[in-house]
């Protein structure tokens, strides 16, 4: 009560504290320049005619969606060292929340607002994450890996088989317009007369949300919480010895990551307007993993780079069978048929193997982000590995 009655001076003081300096956003001038250059490049591609504006905006929206999942996974694996193989399940929880609550094709015919669906998606993902975390987060890291992979399969089976609730393999189609009040139409009309306003609005929404999410994540990454969670990853016993409740901290990291994945799923329903359990294939989870380790484990910037990279890989491989060289190559090998999805699978598998073999820290290493300032003058990774070995030695 006393706070609401505080005088004017107190208020300005508090506003001062709330004011965020550019540096505090965790977004440097260089980052902004990089993003600016990327968008200029994107507009150039559109202007030259390599990309149509609609397809380009669709790709940006897709990258934004992957960005959410990768930033979420980065909190779990990059910050806290939690191996989550059920990315797609949490994505599915978000997507089905949007589809069931707001879609005209939903078997429940609720037609609620997308904002309510977003809230439900976040709450549901958080509750489920806690339920998965309780049995696994106290144990060694690989238990979560195994349990989460199983959980993803169970979620897929549930959405596939509970037809009365989820429409099963028939799928749910149609979705309301997202945030119709956003004034994107004039801006889009400046660029093109034929561009789809709906796609543009969706892209603006997801990129805007991603920006907010990114800034928040940078905030928590640099906060005392972020420092402790990185200590847990490097040496959990040390964090425990310092009196930190590492189980609770890991749980928080897990829940935050899962919520971000659910937001990505929620967005998917509005961008693609169709959802069926086929989208919940475990392979999708590994796309996100590849994107994260390509971008750089533990690096927030890397997550964004990874999002662009994975969309480039996924969309690029769609046109494999139009490249003469590739077709000729596959015809040269007897007994092998060119199958785009299999080639993509192979590519993702090889990328995982090669990145861990040659650049375990990813394309954009997190620099000092993971290192306690001044505490690790030499190669901190080898220390971490040493710690892993000793850990394993003790375990047996």
């Amino acid at each position: 009560m006393s706070e609401s009655q505080s005088d004017g001076a107190g208020l300005t003081e508090r506003l001062d504290r709330l004011r965020v300096e550019p540096g505090n956003l965790g977004v440097s001038i260089l980052d902004l320049v990089a993003v600016g250059v990327f968008f200029l490049f994107f507009l150039m591609l559109v202007a030259v005619g390599v990309l149509s504006l609609n397809y380009g905006m669709y790709l940006l929206g897709l990258a934004g969606m992957y960005g959410f999942m990768i930033v979420g996974l980065n909190i779990q694996w990059g910050y806290a060292g939690l191996i989550n193989f059920s990315v797609i399940a949490f994505w599915g929880i978000g997507a089905y929340a949007a589809a069931l609550l707001t879609s005209p094709g939903s078997p429940h015919d609720l037609l609620l607002s997308p904002v309510i669906a977003l809230v439900v998606a976040i709450v549901a993902a958080a509750i489920v994450a806690v339920l998965i975390g309780i049995p696994t987060l106290r144990l060694r890291a690989d238990y979560l890996a195994i349990a989460s992979l199983g959980f993803a399969e169970v979620i897929r089976l549930l959405f596939l088989n509970e037809r009365e609730w989820t429409a099963g393999s028939r799928g749910i189609s149609g979705a309301p317009e997202l945030f119709e009040w956003l004034p994107v139409e004039p801006a889009v009309r400046l660029l093109s007369t034929t561009a789809s306003v709906g796609t543009a609005r969706n892209t603006v929404v997801i990129l805007g949300l991603l920006f907010i999410g990114y800034v928040l994540v940078r905030r928590i990454h640099r906060s005392p919480w972020g420092r402790v969670i990185r200590t847990i990853r490097a040496d959990e016993d040390l964090a425990k010895a310092l009196g930190k409740n590492t189980y609770m901290m890991k749980m928080q990291a897990f829940v935050i990551g899962c919520v971000l994945m659910a937001v990505a799923g929620w967005f998917y329903m509005y961008a693609f307007e169709y959802l069926d359990p086929g989208e919940l294939e475990p392979l999708q989870t590994f796309y996100v993993w590849v994107a994260l380790i390509l971008g750089g484990t533990g690096s927030d910037r890397g997550s964004i780079v990874g999002a662009v990279t994975i969309v480039a890989i996924l969309e690029g491989t769609r046109f494999l069978n139009e490249i003469d060289l590739v077709v000729a190559l596959f015809e040269a090998i007897p007994g092998i048929a060119l199958n785009v999805s299999a080639v993509r699978l192979l590519l993702v598998g090889l990328l995982i193997i090669l990145v861990i073999r040659f650049r375990p820290q990813g394309i954009l290493p997190p620099k000092e982000e993971l290192i306690w300032p001044g505490a690790a003058p030499d190669d901190s990774r080898s220390q971490e590995r040493q710690a892993t070995r000793e850990q394993r030695g003790v375990d047996e």
Partner: protein, 319 residues
């Protein structure tokens, strides 16, 4: 379906899971990581055997055979043992060999050059799993296939006396599994290689100091694990269909089995595999739960074990 019938089905399915989970447990205890490619190793075995089946059915015996063989050889190939043709057992051996060769190649190309912790190895094994599956789809397509072994009926005297349908191939599956499991037990307990493997699993550094070439032990671990997994894959393919995704679907079950039995304990893996296989088939007897959820039941069992006894049934023992 009668409960006794479900038990019989459970024993047959357990065989497949036991064969898969032993290798996974070996890699866990000796190689020190959770090998997510193990399910796909089972699929490799199944497809290795499929090559022989296609070869025999399409090129040697079928109506449009490319190579003409003398009737004696054809008859010899078609000779049945427990109503399975002789060539099927050859196919089983070929599947085992194919999986063993592939994992050894993988060990040299992928795992051995890595100087990383167990978590990085785990993630690498995911890459290996995806690559295996991609190669299977590229080579064989993604449609389900069969070995082209004619269905044989149930064994009459069993179904008359007990009212349970047991096919000869069920008997073969369980018998060969039993032989392999007993063989592994003898190998681990009574041979020098087995003692070396147990020593390496117990403490790799100490084993190395005592003069055990742990690199060779790791190769032995891969070969044994792959041979057993391939046999499991072939039996699964014989029982159901051969699909590139079959390995991934088994992965969850064999992981549940290994966690249930206690990570790193081979005998625990056998026990866990048996329990999970039974649970999988017994789902049909549960009220309100359809058989489409039998994979979910394995998952629930795993979660309960993690909550109640994370070390598993035999977790404190070593190999």
């Amino acid at each position: 379906m009668s409960t006794l019938q479900l038990v019989v089905n459970g024993i047959v399915y357990s065989s497949v899971i036991v064969l898969g989970s032993i290798g996974l447990s070996l890699v866990y205890s000796i190689g020190n990581f959770a090998n997510f490619a193990h399910g796909d190793t089972m699929a490799i075995g199944a497809f290795g055997a499929l090559v022989v089946a296609i070869g025999v059915n399409d090129y040697l015996l079928g109506p449009e055979a490319v190579v003409s063989v003398s009737p004696t050889i054809a008859a010899a190939l078609e000779t049945t043992v427990f109503s399975l043709p002789i060539w099927f057992f050859v196919a089983l051996l070929v599947g085992m060999a194919a999986a063993a060769i592939l994992v050894v190649v993988t060990e040299f190309l992928v795992y051995r050059p890595l100087d990383t912790g167990s978590i990085e190895l785990l993630i690498t094994s995911i890459g290996v799993a995806l690559a295996y599956r991609a190669l299977l789809i590229l080579g064989f397509g993604s449609d389900p296939q069969t070995y082209g072994v004619g269905r044989s009926g149930r064994i009459d005297w069993v179904s008359e006396s007990l009212g349970v349908a047991i096919t000869p191939r069920d008997v073969v599956t369980v018998a060969i599994t039993a032989i392999l499991v007993v063989g592994l037990h003898l190998l681990l307990q009574y041979t020098t290689l087995g003692r070396k493997m147990r020593a390496t699993a117990d403490n790799a550094d100490l084993a190395r100091v005592s003069g055990i070439r742990t690199g060779e032990i790791i190769l032995a671990m891969w070969v044994i694990g792959a041979v057993l997994a391939a046999a499991g894959g072939v039996f699964l393919g014989l029982d159901t269909l051969i699909r590139p995704r079959m390995g991934f679907e088994m992965l969850l079950l064999i992981f549940s089995a290994v966690i249930l039995g206690g990570i790193g304990s081979v005998y625990g893996a056998m026990l866990g595999g048996f329990t999970i296989g039974m649970a999988f088939e017994m789902t049909a007897a549960l009220p309100f739960v359809g058989t489409q959820y039998n994979a979910a039941v394995a998952f629930i069992v795993m979660i309960v074990i993690l909550l109640v006894r994370p070390t598993g049934i035999l977790g404190d023992d070593t190999t």
